[in-house]
Each structure stands twice: as C-alpha cells, then as structure tokens.
Symmetry: C2
Subunit: 340 residues, 2 copies
Amino acid sequence: MQRTRAATTIRDVAREAGVSVSTVSRVLNDKDDVASDTYERVQAVIQQLSYTSSLAARSMRSHRTNVIGLIVPDVADSFSIQVMKGVNRAITDLDYDLIIYTSGSIKKRSAAERERHFVSLLNGSIADGVIIVTPAATRFSTAAPVVTIDPNTECPECLTIIATNHTGALAAMEYLVELGHRRIGFIGGRPDLQCADQRLQGYKDALRRTYITVDPDLIVAGDFSAETAQQCAQRLLSLPQRPTAIFAANDQSAIGAIEAARQAGLSVPGDLSVVGFDNIPEAAFFNPALTTVDQFIDRMGQVATEILVGLIQGERPESVLYKMPTQLVVRDSCRAVGGQ
Amino acid sequence: MQRTRAATTIRDVAREAGVSVSTVSRVLNDKDDVASDTYERVQAVIQQLSYTSSLAARSMRSHRTNVIGLIVPDVADSFSIQVMKGVNRAITDLDYDLIIYTSGSIKKRSAAERERHFVSLLNGSIADGVIIVTPAATRFSTAAPVVTIDPNTECPECLTIIATNHTGALAAMEYLVELGHRRIGFIGGRPDLQCADQRLQGYKDALRRTYITVDPDLIVAGDFSAETAQQCAQRLLSLPQRPTAIFAANDQSAIGAIEAARQAGLSVPGDLSVVGFDNIPEAAFFNPALTTVDQFIDRMGQVATEILVGLIQGERPESVLYKMPTQLVVRDSCRAVGGQ
DNA sequence: CTGTTAGCGCCTTCAC
DNA sequence: GTGAAGGCGCTAACAG
C-alpha cells in the first residue's frame, strides 16, 4: 500500500525528468507543443512514480474537472439506483467521472439544507455540474449548471426532468376500466410531492372521462412505502362496497396492497386487480408479476447527464422542462371483472 | 438558480463583513480566538451570501477534507448497493461526507487501472481515505489509508474485510446433508475470485467431512450471473444421475438455477433443493423464498468505514484482515430428500 | 519548444 | 483579537 511515501507532486516529476513544472503540466494536458523525446521522458517518469495530478489543485486553477456530481436522497432506494445506472452509462460514454452524494435521512439537517450544502460543495470546486434526484429544495445558488430529476415541488428556476405522471396514470386507469372495473381504489404517494399529485389527478381525470363518480372514500394517502400502503389497502378492502381494483402510486405501494389482499384472504388478480407505477426491477419477479407504469427511470438519468454535459460545454438548453414518456407494462396482477 | 453570479469566495465574505480573510477563515474553522461580535457578524454574512468554502482549496491547504471515497465496481449491483448502505450509515454517524466512484465495466481501461486511477485521484486530494469494493488490483500507491472489501485476490498489503466464505459454505452444505442430500451440485463463481474459491473449498470440505466423494461432474464454474448459472444448472440437471440439491455460490446464481429447474419441469423445493449465498434483499421475496447464507454485506460496509476513519484519525489497525461472520438463513427453497 | 511568473481560494504562521 | 504574508499543487499567460 506504500503508505510511507507522501503524495507525489508535479514537482517531483519535473525534478526526476529534468524539466520544468510547466513542461510536465503541458504533457499532462496533452498540449502539442512538446518535443516528442521530452514527452516520452516525462511520460516515463509519470508512469514510474505512478503520479496522478491532484484533482483539488487542478480544479482550483482550471475550473474544469471533468467530474459531474449526482445528489441522491438515498443510495439504497430503487429510484435512485435506477437513476445512478442511467447516469453512469451516460458518464462513461461522455468520458466524464461521476461523484455521488447522499442527501437524505440525516438527523441534523433537512434534506433541502443538505442538498444546498452539497451543491455548493461540489459546484465551483470539485464538479463541473450537478444532477439532483427528487430535490426538496427549489432553488440553488450556484455558478455551475444544475439539472433536477423529479423534483418534489415545482422548481421553475431549475432545468428539470420529470415523467409524464398524469398521462401514465391515465393509461393505467384506462386499462382497469377496460377490464370492467368501476370501483377502483387509489393509494397515493406523499401529497407534498408533485409526481404523487400528478398521478392522483390522472386517476381522477380518467374516472371523469368515463363518467365514473370520484368516490373520496376510495382515495387514501400513502407515502410510497409498502408498509403504509398495506394499511391503506386494508382500509380500502374493508369498505362496505370494496373496490375490485387498486391503482397504487408506486410499485412499493402496490406490493403493500397485494400483501394486504393476501392477509384479507383475497387473491390477486382473482379477487383484486392491482396496478403499480415505476416498474422497478423487482416488479417483474414479484408474484404475481406486477402490472405497472414504466417511467424509464434510468433513461431519465441518462438524459439528465446528456443535458448537463451539454450545459457545461456551453450549449443553451432547449427547454427548462423535459417530460419523459411513460408506458403501461401489462403483467399478471390484473384481471377482467367477473372473469374468474 | 442564480447562474449569473460567480462562486462566492472567502474574500467576498471578508469584504462584506469588513474584516480580513484570515478572520473569516478563523470563523470557518471555529477557532476560539475570535471576538464574539466579530464571529456573529461574519456568520451572518456567510449565511447571507450562502457561502461554502471551496472543497478544492480547503483540501489543498489543510490536507483534510472530511470526505471519504468509496469505489465500487457497479452502482447497480446488489453487493455494491448493500455496501453503500452500510457505509452511508456509518458515515452519517461519524460526521463525514461520502463520495462514490464507479470502477467497472469500462471499455478503455481495466478495472484495476481504474481503481488505481481513482485512488490517486481521491487520496491526497479530495478524500481523506478510500474504501474499495471487490478490488481487482492488489496494491495501491497512495499516502492515504485504504480499506478493501472482499478483494478479488489476496491483497496482503491492504487492510481487508472479507466474509467467512469457507465457514458459510460449510454451514450451507451441512444443512443440505442433514436434509439427506448426497448428490449436491455446485455452481461456482468466477474462479479467479478468492471468495468464490473459498466457497468451493467449503463445498468440498463439507463433503469430505461426511465421507461423500467429491464428484467433479457436480462442480461447474459460473460467473455469479443468473444467466450463466442457468446454463450451468441445465448441465447439472441433465446428468445421468442428477443432483437432488444445488448449492450456488451466490444468490443470483441460485435464481438462475431455479429458473433452469422450472424449465426442466422440476419443482423447487419439491424435486430440487437450492441454497444461495449473500442474502440479497430479493432473496426473501423470491418464489420460493431463497434459503441462503447471509454475509451481512451492509455490516461489512459499516465496519470498513469505522476502521477507515480510525486510520484517518491516526489509530493503528489491530489487524490487516477482518473476517466477518456469515449465517445460514433457512427459507423455503430446500426440502428433505424423499420428504415430498 | 521550454522556463519563468503569477495567481486560483484557502489556511497558517507571525507580527502587531 | 486581528491583519499581512507565504505557499499548498497546479495551469496559463508571457518571455526567451
């Protein structure tokens, strides 16, 4: 591990190669005005000392690091993981490095505070730009570009990428209605999140379009967790006239709903149809395989990266709001009413 | 988003507060020799300008950033995710920041090269120490502490954390033998990885202990992926005398084996028992719920972090090799031989 | 082609 | 208790 030796600097390389520091710098940055034998010699010394220039020093001088930052609420949450996947793919193609920070679940500071903290920590210092996943804050004071994915509340000053939640919810509902369902329960997400609200609106609008009365008893507020959704579903299922289908605002909630159905002795999809939202990887493996609305989360990460890198390289954004398409994925968790 | 304004520096704060830069620096670093009213005033300006000191500049001077780096092969791989979870938990408690880098699946450079690249990029620059998950490289030239988790090959110069793979495999095999299985197939991991090898040795040793002959036909080499494991399992299941149980070197492989069994018209656990290794979160949800060896991956991340921070703060390591316990988790994917 | 010079933003003496 | 000066490792002018 060679812990003894202090970090090698550009000066060590210069001394060893018998040139000046600036020549080494030129070699490092592939400037073309270096004699080829000098170039070779310096490269050899760099190899030999296994020297890497200090990111800190480099960024301080040149204000360019080829690093982009990603701030996620929680590295273990599946939405974040999908985004990371997409970002990582794009980063690789674009020849950037990626740094990931976690903003969430911290006792001391709120998520919004931590987001701001990381943005200023990264921007103008270690990263050329930042992507923030489901930010709680709505404005960030920074000189470098910021792209947000699925912000909690509208974020008019930021470039944001968000799924067509309303359209996706419409598609899910239309499918259930086509299967003959008329009493359809809705398990919402956290009401303070715009994506949750858009899905709720989609639910309501779909019902209105088909002249089904919106029954407030059929709408319960979850929080995107399976546990809460399970309790919500219990309430829905013990209604005097229980729903024949449940549309959950995300897949976790759908899984909670299925668990509640099981506990109530109802089979899915036999006695209850369930649709989720997100299409997390587990959805396909779940039993029954979950019918859900895919929002191509990894694509959102990829697009965010491409846009961000564009901004870094000085392009003007075409728009401040990118809507990503959604698509209904039909699997085994729904069945036509009566069609046992 | 305030893109116009350039990043605020310590000088802006100093000017605004009517003090010198050094005084601001003192306030920033909580030195006690600042008059309380000066302190207040400077703090107010910092708030007002929402100033954050530049990580780059700070690290360059003080060689201390309170950031630790984590290098994972792939952010979307479940082993890495579990480690990230544990690291993140520990980081929070210890009041450090975390930076995550991805080393894997890059066309241009090998994983080992990328690991070295990131280590020197982070250490002695932006991070006070680094944790590397399943490193391919065995030595890193750096001045800052490095901790490795589950290195591919032995890494005598590094502080490493690794599960008791041999013992875990032993436990899994003893369980299968107790259930009456005598012909037990083994789907290995990549043979160049020490964890895979240790699990294979555990498999063999368990058989020897119970005086069961090790049949080379029952041992096939996978690569920790479900796809390859499926093919491996097909081969095992089409053996003249097919195994009644399969021990897979990780959960993904176990899932592949179950899929192969299903395609061959065999029920799990009715006709074939399957044990995995890892206990990834999906294992519990899988159908049938997977019996597996838990290696408490998140704990490994947590312990790695605690050890690393200890090293950063100047503690001497107690050992260079930390072995983390494993535990058999019995679920529904195994059954006694003949006990239909 | 290469060396010299001047900072980037910050922290750390050392004076006052 | 506070300011001024120097330098961390590096790059970007400017000389030669």
